[in-house]
């Protein structure tokens, strides 16, 4: 790819520095509501999602953005699950960058993803899993690209905007360079953080640490807000630093119906219900689902009520089970 074509894929260093310089990166209270946080995301923004597949998906924040009728987002994530369907179906995004996009292996290929991409109403821009990770990592490190050794020789690389090979000046080997991804906004759901945005993650961290460093704005949703004193007692457990964070929203069960490590597993019956609703007529099914679970609920508790108390208790019991032995 000639350099002109990759412009816009990677931002210039001075632009990136300037954006970062303009942010208030001080230790300050950033607690706000979902509705207030939604205002921080502009239509058309590039947005990275933390978590992976059905784990620590920032579902509550997406729910708030869908309810705020945002549009035109370019959304990236390591792997997309049902939240990807909802992005398309709600009009929040028609452009998704990821390595894999379906509900999850047990449910088969996503009917909604197929309906939107095959009709060309939406784009699924495919990168290798590691390429996604290294694009965020380059962004996190403040360099315009990362060298890597996969994706070459495949059809994926030909369709990946900005990926290019180089001859290594040290070894003569062929390497692939993938462009840095510095999203405008990152949405990340965590088990706990303080009011300043110091987040301590349990279990799998996926690509979240790099995403937080790479983004030009970070919105954290959290199962609970803890004191800064508690964070400071174990500073080596802080995985996302306050200096990257712009908003903190406390939302219990903020990943439902997906899981949050150590707290709740996926709400499987609800995931089955979703698959069932979208199986026959994906467009109508997704629209009905959005209506019932996203637009109609008066608040997040109402959303959870509609998923159901028994479901919630079951998911929570299974979630804490990881610590049973």
């Amino acid at each position: 790819m000639p350099r002109e074509e990759s412009e816009g894929v990677t931002q210039s260093y001075l632009d990136l520095r300037q954006k970062t310089r303009e942010r208030d990166r001080s230790l300050r209270d950033k607690v706000m509501s979902l509705e207030e946080a939604a205002k921080l995301v502009d239509n058309g923004a590039s947005v990275a999602l933390g978590g992976c597949t059905a784990s620590r998906t920032p579902m509550a924040m997406l729910w708030a953005l869908i309810r705020a009728r945002k549009t035109g987002l370019t959304v990236s994530r390591s792997i997309m699950s049902t939240e990807g369907d909802l992005l398309y179906a709600s009009g929040l995004s028609t452009h998704i960058q990821t390595s894999w996009f379906s509900q999850g292996i047990v449910w088969g290929v996503s009917k909604v993803m197929r309906a939107y991409t095959e009709s060309k109403r939406a784009t699924f821009e495919e990168w290798s899993h590691m390429a996604m990770g290294l694009r965020y990592r380059a962004g996190a490190m403040g360099v315009p690209f990362m060298p890597m050794r996969s994706m070459m020789g495949s059809g994926v690389v030909d369709r990946a905007p900005g990926a290019r090979t180089m001859e290594c000046p040290f070894t003569g080997e062929t390497l692939l360079l993938v462009p840095a991804l510095n999203p405008d906004v990152a949405l990340i759901h965590v088990q706990r953080c303080d009011a300043y945005g110091n987040a301590q993650l349990d279990g799998l961290t996926f690509m979240d640490i790099d995403i937080a460093m790479a983004a030009n704005k970070v919105i954290l949703t959290t199962e609970r807000i803890v004191s800064n004193d508690q964070i400071r007692r174990h500073p080596d457990q802080t995985k996302i630093g306050f200096f990257t964070v712009d908003a903190v929203v406390e939302v219990p069960f903020g990943s439902a119906p997906h899981e949050c490590y150590g707290l709740y597993e996926p709400f499987y019956s609800h995931m089955d219900l979703y698959a069932q609703m979208t199986a026959k007529d994906p467009d109508k099914g997704a629209a009905d689902y959005l209506e019932r679970f996203h637009y109609e609920p008066k608040d997040w508790a109402d959303y959870l009520s509609r998923i159901g108390m028994a479901e919630l208790l079951d998911a929570q019991r299974r979630g804490s089970g990881i610590y049973d032995d």
Partner: protein, 270 residues
């Protein structure tokens, strides 16, 4: 389902002691046997994971399993198979959890012996497609895409487990999602992939390898009761079966019992 039940019945006929098994169970058992003790294997969910655990519980207790969610050396509990390799169930009693990027970089650094995945469509040179059925610009079906597949296939020795069907074994895949030997010969290394490559393809009919020079797929073993004609009937390209091709030993009671205990709801072995 028909093909599988037929084959199970076939293998039952000579000796009544032989247990019945599904095609998926056959795949699981045959794949497990390819894993060696002490290896590190990057396993996808489904048959690969089942096979890796089966290997651990039989001949390879020191097999290290990796999941692309960032999990190193876990113990998966019977009956608690994860729906993907990115959920907490995958992490139970693991030795180490790392980020996704780190676990994939282990492949690049060379710490992984074997990549082990399922396949939707494969061609003569072991290229895999999980992205598009039909033309990529106007696909008949948009599939979920590469996930970790491309990175695993680019950087490790690969075992692929899949059903042996003509529509899946094609002359040329519609799209190379995960590279095998690309166009054969040294084309893989020339593309920038000097390490790794297809090692074995395990199907319900037999076990396939790749010619050292041409890198074209070839049969290295047939499962009990499978004829060269069955290979021909179910493959979309010329897949040579050597005259003296060995026959695999059929799944044992122990192997099948372990598989069934692992997946009592038959999520992956039905």
């Amino acid at each position: 389902m028909t093909t599988e039940s037929t084959r199970a019945t076939l293998t039952e006929s000579p000796l009544k002691a032989v247990p019945a098994y599904t095609a998926s169970e056959l795949l699981g058992v045959m794949s497990a046997r390819l894993l060696r003790d002490g290896q590190t294997v990057f396993a996808g969910v489904g048959i690969p994971l089942l096979a890796a655990i089966l290997a651990q519980k039989t001949h390879a207790p020191g097999l290290t399993i990796l999941f692309e969610g960032g999990v190193i050396g876990p113990f998966v509990e019977a009956g608690k198979l994860p729906p993907s390799t990115n959920e907490q169930r995958c992490t139970r009693r693991a030795n180490m959890l790392v980020s996704i990027t780190e676990v994939l970089l282990m492949l690049q650094r060379g710490y992984v012996d074997v990549g082990f995945m399922g396949g939707a469509q494969i061609d003569r040179y072991g290229n895999l497609n999980s992205s598009f059925i039909g033309d990529a610009d106007n696909p008949k079906i948009r599939l979920p895409g590469t996930g970790g597949g491309n990175d695993i296939a680019s950087l490790a020795d690969m075992i692929v487990a899949m059903k042996h069907e003509k529509r899946r074994f094609v002359e040329k895949v519609d799209f190379i999602t995960s590279p095998g030997f690309i166009e054969g010969g040294d084309s893989r290394a020339k593309a920038g992939l000097p390490a790794g490559g297809m090692f074995r393809v395990v199907t319900d009919l037999g076990i396939m390898g790749f010619d050292e020079a041409t890198k074209a797929m070839t049969v290295v073993a047939l499962h009990p009761g499978v004829t060269p004609q069955a290979i021909k009937d179910n493959t979309g390209f010329e897949l040579p079966v050597p005259a003296d091709v060995p026959v695999t030993e059929q799944p044992s009671d122990v192997e099948l019992a372990i598989l069934r205990e692992l997946d009592p709801q038959r999520l992956y072995t039905a």
